[in-house]
Symmetry: C2
Subunit: 353 residues, 2 copies
DNA sequence: TTGTACGCGTTATCAA
DNA sequence: TTGATAACGCGTACAA
């Protein structure tokens, strides 16, 4: 039991356990456990010895064993459709800030917009016994059933950004409908009447919501809805480009005077198409996006858009999840985060007023 | 043991275990385990029954318990300094692709460029018994000692992008020095002689490496090094702006004709400073960046830069780590990934040739 | 082909 | 203030 022994003890590459410390000190594992976790009564001297020996042996507590008995992993699963979508790194950052403070780690999974992969990820997360899961769903949402049984399971869930509604699940998202309505109103308020919409995939809630907001704005201003001016573009540049080309292939007098794109990448694609048709933005066609992509301010002309506070969404979702995990919240909430309009040149609204 | 019983069995919100399945079927836990994992001999009929009952009860295998006995978590820890740095989402995406294929999950931690937080993260990852760790270090690297003892521990480590050299660790990174040298050579090749460098923090390897590459290029072309033209800007826009202002506060005839920025954000800041001095890019001062930020192509004038294959870096690092974990690789490698020059207008090199 | 005993590293509980 | 025992859910090794 001399110092030398301790050194020798390290020989094998086996991990040091609480038992090793106990044996070295000639005490029981329980005392070691208590000393290391400040739980129950431990003699001050004993405690110091334990701490010292723990350092000397390079002890690293085994959280796996701890989790098994405590039934708590201090781990949260995060499922996102596409890590590189500029929105998600920001959102993850918000999540991380909250979970870091609360001492949870994050298992990050990426569904690649694939429902099957998403389900597998969630199942794995359950098997890893995460304490809760944050989900932003893939585009190809198939069966509600999976989510319905999921929220009945013992793992707390909070959806963020892309939610599944109507199944009694927690959700933190942008007020997509309201925001889309407002930005459309903004165009209308500046005299535009004939307005097109490049919509997201209608299977995804935000695609549907933004379309609805667009429609509501028209309706409230008694502007008739022209179905040919609503084209599904999806969330990417390519889709925006194609959708806009489709619209521009209409007879000239049917062209829109303004375009509301479901998001900025789609708007970028559309801008390319508009330019290729030798039309000017915003003189011939005004355009607005959605998301305040980092490129929006730099493109020519700078794109008017709706800023989504991604960090805030992630933060609030994580807060709600942790509150639920720790029993401080039992309600089911649908939280919406306010957006902010960023008026730039692409909508041609600066001059008119 | 009738069907009815199974349903009743679900009452409590306790998790279903292999034992529950065994009891329902009147067999042993081991048979259940074997059936579920396709290991050893199991009667075909028995196996089917187990699988069916497993589904019926909604069994989710407890990976925590599994990990404890198998001493393997199928989890990899990732430590990045700043999730939102455009480089990292890409790199994580590369990591994710590899680990997904190999059936590992990712615990993502973020050090916020803080060495202390990074160490805590690594310690926690060790306690969670991850099978390996991928690290991109924080700017404030303090003691090698921590890393030295880390790589001696039982957890395989691979550094990526920002490495700690000279301690015998695996590393996958950009050939920073070579790339910086090449882009500087490119400027020199187009007639620029008086060239400034906005350097990164010299405590970080990439800051040091790029500076060295810059110096080498000058040296090989017998261009004298002017210390006043090397200013530490750090990695952000603000630092680039300030550093450039410092340079522009020199007497006019000491101004550089070209600038090599440590990365694109720093270049953006510098461009702002140059414009505020009513100087034209590239006519008065040419500039090049490093990293091919998503904004580089859109800014005016478009920025010449060095594209870093972030996805590739992440991918290779993950491959090396998994190979090490699974005993298919035991060498210590320093892998460098080639970069690619993206020549745009900011360097004024297009016209001259 | 199936079952039994034991161990993985930790903590809760109760006794000393 | 400390220790012995059992348990968390699963897999290995061996026996049947």
């Amino acid at each position: 039991m001399t110092k030398k022994d301790h050194t020798i003890q390290r020989r094998s590459n086996k991990r040091i356990t609480a038992r090793d410390i106990a044996v070295q000190l000639g005490i029981s594992e329980m005392t070691v456990s208590r000393a290391l976790n400040n739980r129950g009564y431990v003699d001050k001297t004993t405690k110091e010895k334990v701490l010292e020996m723990s350092k000397e042996l390079g002890y690293s507590p085994n959280h796996i064993a701890k989790s098994l008995v405590l039934k708590k992993t201090h781990t949260i699963g995060v499922v996102v459709p596409e890590i590189t979508h500029s929105f998600f790194p920001e959102a993850i950052r918000g999540i991380e800030e909250v979970t870091f403070m609360a001492q949870y780690q994050l298992i990050l999974t990426h569904s690649a917009e694939n429902a099957k992969r998403e389900q597998d990820a969630i199942l794995t997360l359950e098997s890893k016994r995460v304490d809760g899961i944050l989900i932003s769903t893939a585009q190809s949402v198939e069966d509600d059933m999976f989510y319905r049984s999921l929220i009945k399971s013992s793992v707390p869930i909070v959806f963020f950004d892309r939610c599944v509604y109507g199944i009694g699940a927690n959700c933190v998202s942008i007020d997509d409908e309201e925001s889309a309505k407002k930005i459309t109103m903004h165009l209308i308020g500046h005299g535009y009447k004939r307005i097109a919409h490049l919509s997201g995939p209608l299977g995804v809630s935000i695609g549907q919501d933004r379309l609805n907001g667009f429609k509501k704005a028209l309706k409230e201003n008694n502007i008739p809805l022209d179905k040919e001016l609503i084209v599904e573009s999806g969330f990417h540049e390519k889709g925006g480009y194609e959708a806009m080309n489709k619209i521009l292939s209409l007879p000239k007098k049917m062209h829109p005077r303004a375009v509301v794109a479901v998001n900025d990448p789609a708007a970028f694609g559309a801008m390319k198409a508009i330019e290729e048709h030798h039309l000017s933005i915003p003189k011939d066609i005004a355009i607005v996006g959605f998301s305040d992509d980092i490129r929006a301010a730099l493109i020519t002309p700078p794109l008017t858009t709706v800023r989504q506070p991604a960090y805030e969404v992630g933060k609030r979702a994580a807060e709600k999840l942790i509150a639920t995990i720790e029993g401080k919240s039992s309600s089911i909430d649908e939280i919406t985060i306010n957006t902010e309009q960023v008026i730039r040149l692409s909508c041609g609204c600066n001059k008119k007023k």
